[in-house]
């Protein structure tokens, strides 16, 4: 069947009343957590994971898709109205958006962010719809060595791109890899790194590590360096809608933002920070009213980065769905969610579970429409969430975190791990270690190991097998480039 027919089937699944309900729940939750500080999409999905066991994979992923996109919408609202970007991807939005709100054009900024997110989200989802099956097809030709090379690329790019220092990025990654080998070795049945503790035989749950790093680490860190300030929410002024001129000024930035965001999101290590930054710089260069940048706020500086941000979020799904390769913390927890349901994303999922994949993709279109409706007229209601006092908000996050961890397996050992890993999360924040590489190492490490050992075993241990196919040579060369490029650039700059 062709892609279009499959997509129609997907809509059939996604439009089922129960699934529509879950899409709505996800969109509402996503918008809320995008607005609230201290809780992001990855943490939310991790906390929801135990609950979804009784729901079934299709509905669960439709809800997660709503959370993923909704967080992007919510993040832009706080960036514009109180100048605190909820997610890394909405940092650029805060620059111009908050200035616009201050000069009485908050409504236009919110509108261009919401419509831009919608336009970018829909175009990017369409690109995902038609690109994913072909990439999945390609992946059928991948040998174990190629898959191993792919994981190496994901590792190096995540460790290099995220954070400020390569050494610290790689330390995070290798801690993740070390945590990933804990438990019974799947190929030989040997217990590894358990030190006689039976609670460790099943390995470290990604949920436990993620919740501890993101929620516990954050709570302790923010408490220790709490900035007492009242968030003064700027009133939404300037009518509910954009003027004709503002529409005209937003259109091209939306499209350019999408064009930058989608491919960058799909690349390992692309994330959402770099594409939004690129889009902002580009719009600043191209804008005819340069004097508005940094003064009263230029609408192009909101429209472009917001579109790039949403397009990147959709782009992240491409390697995840087609190759089973997560490139962000959120993608890592989505991969864990697939594994929870006994599913392995990758080329085979398109043939074995078309209902799930196409239902998920169709629900991305529907979620975008829902979010536009939820966010544009109702933005005043969402902002009320910021009235929750901070002490009680962070206390509530801890309660949900402990339920999330206790609910996974009801083990006191996991709760003890929560303290230790949470403290590690605190130290990582104080000394500026990136967190995402730990999660990528933890979830991708076992896959990398499996492919490496399969490849080597087939070649009687000859490591040359790893660079035998053209695909693996190309991918490993790109990984090396990632590693060496910053060093070479620094040398060149010194020489110049």
């Amino acid at each position: 069947m062709d892609t279009f027919g499959l997509l129609l089937q997907g809509f059939d699944v996604a439009l089922h009343p129960m699934n529509l309900f879950w899409a709505l729940v996800g969109s509402v939750l996503g918008t809320a957590i995008g607005i609230l500080p201290g809780i992001g999409p990855a943490l939310t999905i991790a906390l929801l994971l135990p609950v979804t066991v009784s729901v079934g994979p299709v509905s669960a992923f439709i809800m997660f898709a709503g959370v993923l996109y909704g967080a992007m919408y919510g993040g832009s609202t706080t960036s514009i109205l109180i100048n605190t970007p909820g997610e890394a991807g909405s940092m650029m939005t805060a620059l111009e958006g908050n200035k616009m709100a201050r000069s009485g054009r908050g409504a236009a900024a919110l509108a261009t962010a919401a419509v831009g997110s919608f336009v970018a989200g829909t175009i990017a989802t369409a690109l995902l719809t038609f690109a994913a099956p072909s990439i999945a097809e390609l992946a059928f030709y991948f040998k174990p060595a190629d898959y191993f090379a792919l994981t190496v690329l994901a590792f190096t790019s995540v460790a290099v791109v995220m954070g400020t220092s390569r050494v610290r990025g790689f330390i995070s990654l290798f801690i993740g890899l070390a945590l990933g080998v804990i438990g019974i070795d799947k190929m030989t049945g040997q217990p590894r790194m358990t030190f006689g503790a039976s609670a460790l035989l099943d390995g470290m749950e990604l949920t436990v590590v993620l919740v501890s790093l993101f929620a516990i680490g954050e709570i302790i860190y923010v408490a220790s360096r709490y900035r007492h300030q009242s968030d003064d929410v700027l009133p939404i002024k300037g009518g509910v809608w954009m003027t004709k001129e503002e529409w005209k000024r937003s259109l091209m930035p939306w499209l350019r933002g999408t064009a930058i965001g989608f491919p960058m999101g799909a690349l390992p290590g692309g994330g959402s920070e770099i594409p939004t930054m690129l889009s902002y710089t580009l719009e600043k260069k191209l804008c005819k009213k340069k004097e508005e940048f940094g003064t009263v706020g230029a609408i192009e500086g909101v429209a472009g980065p917001e579109a790039a941000n949403n397009a990147a979020a959709a782009g992240v799904l491409v390697p995840l769905l087609t190759l089973g390769l997560p490139t962000s913390a959120t993608a890592a927890i989505l991969l864990a969610a697939f594994q929870n349901f006994g599913l392995q994303p990758g080329p085979f999922l398109f043939t074995s579970n078309p209902e799930l994949i196409w239902g998920l993709i169709a629900s991305l279109y529907i979620g975008n429409v829902m979010l536009l409706i939820l966010n544009l007229p109702l933005v005043g209601m969402w902002v009320k969430l910021l009235l929750i006092p901070k002490p009680q908000l962070y206390a509530g996050i801890l309660v949900f975190a402990m339920i999330g961890i206790w609910g996974v397996s009801g083990s006191t050992f996991d709760l003890a791990c929560m303290v230790v890993v949470g403290l590690m999360g605190y130290v990582m924040r104080v000394y500026d270690f990136p967190i995402a590489p730990i999660l990528i190492g933890l979830i991708l490490g076992p896959m990398a190991e499996n492919q490496l050992r399969t490849a080597l075993a087939a070649a009687q241990g000859n490591p040359a097998v790893l660079v035998e196919t053209p695909i693996s040579i190309v991918i490993l060369s790109i990984s090396a480039l990632f590693l060496l490029a910053p060093m070479v650039l620094r040398r060149l700059r010194k020489a110049a």
Binding site: T84, G86, T188, Y226, Q392, A395, G396
Partner: protein, 165 residues
């Protein structure tokens, strides 16, 4: 992880590099307890552990070298937190205590009471002084969550195991 109190950003946090090296050594030590019989052509369950441990060892040494050269560590900015603020030790330990409580009380006292105590402690760490209201809020939140999530199929243990509920 080693004691986070040992250094403040700006100083030379040697212990960070040493902690990473120790983690690496723990991994390498773990490989020595694996039986060699499970190997085939030097590829066994220990190979990847050796890679992870060796990597951490090398990276720990690199980090020590960076620290010796005066690497700067700047605390991350987060929402509601500023990296350049001095560390509030009392708030830190109160929040830390809140996260230790569940491991001690969850099994015997159940979720609602655990949530009540932890909730109050975190709120206190953030400067709330309304102890009774916070305790009440935490207890209500814990109770509502217990009923809600138990109905959704989560195994959250007894409501108040000590009293036999």
């Amino acid at each position: 992880m080693a004691d986070p109190e040992a250094a403040t950003p700006g100083a030379r946090p040697w212990w960070l590099g040493i902690a990473v090296i120790i983690l690496g050594c723990v991994c390498l030590y773990a490989t020595t307890t694996l039986p060699a019989t499970a190997q085939y052509a030097a590829i066994g369950p220990g190979m990847f552990v050796t890679i992870a441990g060796g990597g951490l060892l090398v990276l720990g040494i690199l980090l020590l070298l960076q620290i010796a050269r005066g690497e700067r560590f700047e605390a991350q900015d987060a929402e509601n937190a500023a990296g350049n603020l001095p560390m509030d030790k009392r708030a830190f330990f109160t929040a830390l205590a809140a996260t230790i409580v569940p491991a001690l009380t969850m099994e015997t006292l159940g979720l609602p009471i655990t949530a009540m105590v932890s909730f109050m402690l975190v709120a206190r760490a953030f400067g709330s002084s309304k102890i009774v209201i916070d305790l009440l809020t935490g207890a209500i939140l814990g109770t509502v969550c217990w009923f809600l999530f138990s109905r959704l199929g989560l195994q959250l243990g007894g409501f108040l195991p000590l009293a036999g509920f």
